[in-house]
Symmetry: C2
Subunit: 386 residues, 2 copies
DNA sequence: CCTATTGCTTCCGTAGCAAAATAAAAAATG
DNA sequence: CATTTTTTATTTTGCTACGGAAGCAATAGG
C-alpha cells in the first residue's frame, strides 16, 4: 500500500483538483464532480481513470447510502482510500507536545502527548522523535509529519522566530527529518489550523472565510479562494493593537482595551485577579460568571461585547461568508452568547446579511491535527504553495 | 469606425483578457503580455492577430518612447485604439445630473451638467436624453451610456430602491434605452466608481483592494481578484452602524459615534452648527480647523481619528494591498493627516506592513466617469458579470 | 562577420469542452 | 405485464485553445 502510494505524486493539475475535491467532500459521483469543478463530464472520466487505476480512488457501492430513489442511471460514487496512508501532526506548546496520527481524511486515529522538560531545539526534537517512534510501532509506514507552533516559519521548514520558545532561525524541519527519516512540514500553528478548517472543516468549499482564535493569544486569518492571505503580522501575535474599547482595562499584555487585553485567557484571569485578589482558572471564572458572581460577570460581559464587536468588524470589512471562532478561549461563547450577539447587532447594519458565525472549541489535539493536514497537503498532493 | 467596432463584440475569453490588459495597462509588447497574462508567446501571437485585423489593437512605433537601449530584437508594442468609441457616463444627485463623455481608456473628453427640477423618473430620463443628444451632436456614434446613482440596482438596469430619489423598482435602463436608442448600464454609484478605479485607477492590477468613500454618506467596497464583493448592504448606506467611538457625537444620521456621524459632510456640518450656532460649509469648516479655530478643530480632529481607526480596521481585517479614500469629503486628509496617521498607528501592529493608503478627491464628474467605465466593461468587452 | 540576446512566429502534442452515443434505471403507456 | 419514453450517468468522439520547442527576425557587442 505504501509503495503504491508513491505513484500518486505526479498528479496533473486536473487530477489534483479531482483528488482534493473527493478528499475534502466525501464520496462524489463523476457527474457531481463535473458540476463542482466546472469540468465537462468527459474530462472527469478522463481524469478519474488513472486515479482509479493507481488505487487512489475507488468506486464505492452506494446502495444503502443513497436513500432517495431517483430516476435515471444511478450514479457511481468515487471515494478516496483514506486508510492508505497515515500522517503525524504535532503541536508544540510551552510545556507539552501534543501528537496525533490521522488518515488521509484527517480523522484522528491515535493521540500521544508528552511533557517538555526544556525548550532547547535538541530536547524538543528528541521528544518528537520518541513520539514518532511510538506512533510508527502502532502504524508502520507513516507518510510524513506536520509540526505547528506559535511563531513565524518560512519554507514550511525553518522557524524564523518563536517568542515562547525563544527560538531564532531554527531549521526544525531538517532536524526532525534527520532524526526520523520522514518528510516534515513546519508551520505557524494558526496557519495550520486554518488550512485544516479550510479543507476539512468549517471553511470547506467557501471562497472567503475568516478564522479568529482565542487562547493564550489572539489569532486571525483570512482565507480567500482557498488560500490564506499572508501578512507581516503572522506569528508575531494579532490583536495587541486592535483597540476595541479605548476605555477598556489595562493589562500586562496588549494596549489598553485591546482585543488581547479583553479576550485572551491570561488577561481575563489577570483582570479577575486584579479585581478580586483570587487566582482563578479560566473555567472557574466562566462558571462563576454564569452563576452571576458580579466581578467575573463584569469581566466576561466586557469580553463578550468586545468579541461581538470584533466579529462585526470582521464581517463589515472583510465580508467573509463565514467566521470561525476557535481556540481554548471560546468557552466564553457558551456563557455569554446574548451579549456577543447584542454587540454584533449594534455594530452591523440591520439589512446586512446575518453573520455566519461558527464556534469550535479546540483542544490542543485539534491544533496537532491542523499540522497533520498541512503534511497531507504538502506531501501527498504536492504543489500547495506556502 | 463605428461599424467596424461592432465586429469587436464576440471576443473569446483569451482575446478579452488581452484586450483588457492592453486597455488598462497602456501599450504592451506581445512578450510583456505573455508574462502578465501567464500565456505562452505563441498564444499571444494567435490572440492578438484577429484583434489587430479587426482594428481594436494597433502596433505602435515605440522608437522615442523606449529610451532604454536593450539588446535583442526590439519589441513591438500594441496599443488599443482608444479614440475609436465614445461612452457617456452620468451621475445623478439630488439636484444635478453630471455627465461626461470618455474614450475607451476612460479619458474624459467632454463634461456637461444640468440642474434637476424634479426627481420623477420621467423628468430625469428627459434630462438624460437632452444631455445625450447634446453629446451626440459633438461626438456622433456614441457607443453606450452608464448611469450611477446612490441606491440599489440589479441586472445593471433596474433601480430597486433609491432613498434620495424616493424610487422603487424603476426600470431606468430600459427607459433611457427607449429614449436614446443607445445601450444603457445602470449601477450603484460607489460600485461604478470602484470599477473605474479597479480598471484604470488606484486598484489597477491589484488582487485585494478596498475603497472607502466619504461624502454625503459613507461608501465601502472590497475588490478581490478584480471583482467587487457584493453584499446585502450595498446601496443602503454603509457606516451607520460602524461604531468607531461609543462616546462620540450623536447626530441626526447614524448611531452615536458611528462612522456616518463622525465623518460625513452633513454630520460634520451639523456638529459644528450644534456647537457654534454657525451654519458653515464643509470647506469653511476645514479652513477654520486648519487655522486652529477651536470648535471646528475639535470636530475635524475627532473625524480624523475616526478615519484613521477605520482605515486601520480595514487593513487589519480585510488585508487589502491598497486602500483608496475617495469622495467629496476627503479634504479632511489635507487638513488632518497627522491625526489620521496617528490613529492608524495606534490601531495596528508596529510590525504589520504599513497601510498603503491613497487619497483621491473626487468631484461628481469622477463619479460620472465611473459610470462610463461600467458601460465600457459591459458593452464593449462584454461578459463582465454583475 | 560572428555570437549572444531578445521578440515574435510556426508547428505539434495535449487537455479541455461540446455533442453524440451508450448505459441504466424509473415512469408512463398500451 | 411488456414496451416505450423519460431521465440521469457515463463514455466516446471530434474540435479548439493552450503550452512547449524549434525556428526566424532584429538588434547589440565583440
Amino acid at each position: 500500500m505504501t509503495t503504491l502510494a508513491a505513484s500518486w505524486l505526479p498528479l496533473s493539475p486536473g487530477e489534483r483538483a479531482v483528488a482534493i475535491e473527493v478528499l475534502t467532500h466525501g464520496p462524489l459521483s463523476r457527474s457531481e464532480l463535473a458540476r463542482r469543478l466546472d469540468l465537462s463530464a468527459g474530462s472527469v472520466t478522463r481524469l478519474t481513470k488513472p486515479l482509479i487505476e493507481s488505487g487512489l480512488l475507488v468506486e464505492v457501492a452506494d446502495g444503502a447510502t443513497l436513500a432517495e430513489v431517483r430516476q435515471g442511471r444511478p450514479s457511481q460514487p468515487l471515494d478516496i482510500v483514506a486508510e492508505s496512508r497515515r500522517f503525524v501532526g504535532f503541536k508544540i506548546t510551552q510545556d507539552m507536545v501534543y501528537g496525533v496520527v490521522t488518515t488521509l481524511r484527517s480523522d484522528i486515529v491515535a493521540r500521544r502527548d508528552r511533557p517538555l522538560a526544556g525548550l532547547d531545539p535538541d530536547e524538543i526534537v528528541d521528544v518528537l522523535r520518541e513520539l514518532t517512534d511510538e506512533f510508527e510501532r502502532d502504524f508502520p509506514g507513516l507518510a510524513g509529519i506536520g509540526i505547528g507552533l506559535g511563531g513565524r516559519a518560512h519554507d514550511r521548514s525553518v522557524v524564523d522566530e518563536s517568542a515562547f520558545l525563544d527560538w531564532h532561525d531554527v531549521p526544525l524541519g531538517r532536524l526532525v527529518e534527520e532524526r526520523t527519516g520522514l518528510p516534515v512540514v513546519v508551520e505557524n500553528d494558526v496557519a495550520a489550523l486554518v488550512e485544516a478548517e479550510s479543507w476539512f472543516g468549517a471553511g470547506r468549499g467557501l471562497d472567503r472565510f475568516a478564522v479568529l482564535t482565542i487562547g493564550a493569544g489572539i489569532g486571525y486569518a483570512l482565507v480567500i479562494g482557498g488560500k490564506r492571505v499572508a501578512t507581516a503580522e503572522d506569528g508575531v501575535g494579532y490583536g495587541r493593537f486592535w483597540i476595541v474599547n479605548p476605555n477598556g482595562p489595562l493589562t500586562p499584555d496588549g494596549q489598553r482595551g485591546s482585543a488581547v487585553s479583553l479576550l485572551t485567557i491570561p488577561n481575563i484571569r489577570y483582570q479577575v485577579q486584579a479585581a478580586t485578589g483570587q487566582d482563578l482558572s479560566y473555567e472557574e471564572i466562566l462558571t462563576l460568571a454564569a452563576a452571576g458572581d458580579p466581578m467575573p460577570s463584569r469581566v466576561i460581559d466586557e469580553a463578550a461585547r468586545a468579541l461581538g464587536t470584533l466579529v462585526a468588524q470582521i464581517a463589515n470589512f472583510a465580508m467573509p461568508q463565514k467566521i470561525l471562532l476557535a481556540g481554548e478561549g471560546v468557552g466564553l461563547v457558551d456563557v455569554a452568547a446574548p451579549a456577543i450577539e447584542e454587540a454584533i447587532r449594534a455594530n452591523r447594519h440591520p439589512r446586512a446579511e446575518p453573520v455566519n458565525l461558527e464556534t469550535k472549541v479546540s483542544d490542543f489535539h485539534d491544533w496537532a491535527r491542523g499540522a497533520a493536514v498541512l503534511a497531507i497537503q504538502v506531501l501527498v498532493l504536492g504543489g500547495v504553495e506556502a
